[in-house]
Amino acid sequence: MTTVPPFQRALEAHGDAVWRYLRGMVGAGAADDCFQETFLAALRAYPRLHRESNLRAWLLTIAHRKAIDHLRRRRRDALEPLGEEIEAKPQGDGAIWSAVATLPPRQRAAVLLRYGGDLAHREIAAAIGCSEEAARRSLHEGLKRLRETL
């Protein structure tokens, strides 16, 4: 077999990781739009994907691009700040999620890709588009800041 598995299997296997990442990155209210955009873009490109590719890292890289686009649009449109939107959503780990929302985007992405997406440092670097060392530093800084906040 030379082709990738049916797309449905990628959706089932990695939908959770993509959702966790997006929820933390753009907030629960916008996560669904970004989720739909992420998987639609992935579906388009899917037949050209190499069979040996790391599907989760690939999907999270697309999700990261969609999240950054969304945050740029939101900043331009000057909508309500991200923190409020997440706090408004009652959740058991609400405090942690709102603390995540206050991190600078780069650190937030690194923390979420590591724990929400379960990516290795090298994969986080590739998704964000920085060096492995910079990814490691963003992750470290982000976690430190989270622990101080909480």
């Binding site: 077999m1 030379t2 082709t3 990738v4 598995p5 049916p6 797309f7 449905q8 959706l11 089932e12 939908g15 959770d16 993509v18 959702w19 966790r20 929820r23 933390g24 629960a28 996560a31 669904d32 989720f35 739909q36 998987f39 639609l40 579906l43 388009r44 899917y46 037949p47 780990d93 942690i96 999620w97 995540v100 923390v111 979420l112 724990y115 929400g116 379960d118 976690l143 989270l146 622990r147 909480l150």
Partner: protein, 201 residues
Amino acid sequence: MSSTPDPIETALRSSAGEATAAARRFADRAARRGADLFYAEEASPLGALLLVAGRRGLIALRYAPVDVEATLAELAERRSPRIVESAAGLDPWRRELSEYFEGARRRFEAPLDWRDIAGFRRRVLRATVAIPYGELESYKAVARKAGSPDAARAAGNALGANPLPIVIPCHRVRHAGGGLGGYTGGLERKRLLLAIESDAR
């Protein structure tokens, strides 16, 4: 990083039920636009049916037990890996099938995909589609209509490889002497289909 469970890490790893709902919304949307193939399992009086369709129409209808993974992997290879699971995407065929099982439908109108059905097999299956509801024809007659009057046995094989049973009604074909012949889903299902059609007449 610490080795003891960290509440921050645990919270960020926690799975959200919303992800499942979002994935389902995506699959239904993709079945309308973006995906090349969509599939669903449908309950029926003949047991579960696996339905697979694409933009041109229904591609496969399989009786249980079916190896879903193998079927999808083969279609991913032969057609496209852009496959999603969506019952909504299969609505036109699901609706017609359920009407048929209730005896309320005699003809299937939702489109069928004939692309991978070629040659003699195609002629045999086309001739089979033309057999009216509730009527029976012999393998020999079907072979004749397919242009090969001496190929009753080959016609039987072509019918045995029908990728779209029920909607291409190969259950309406039997031996000239009256014997029921064979059936893709087993003779029990063939009898059931014929009973539905004779009850409804």
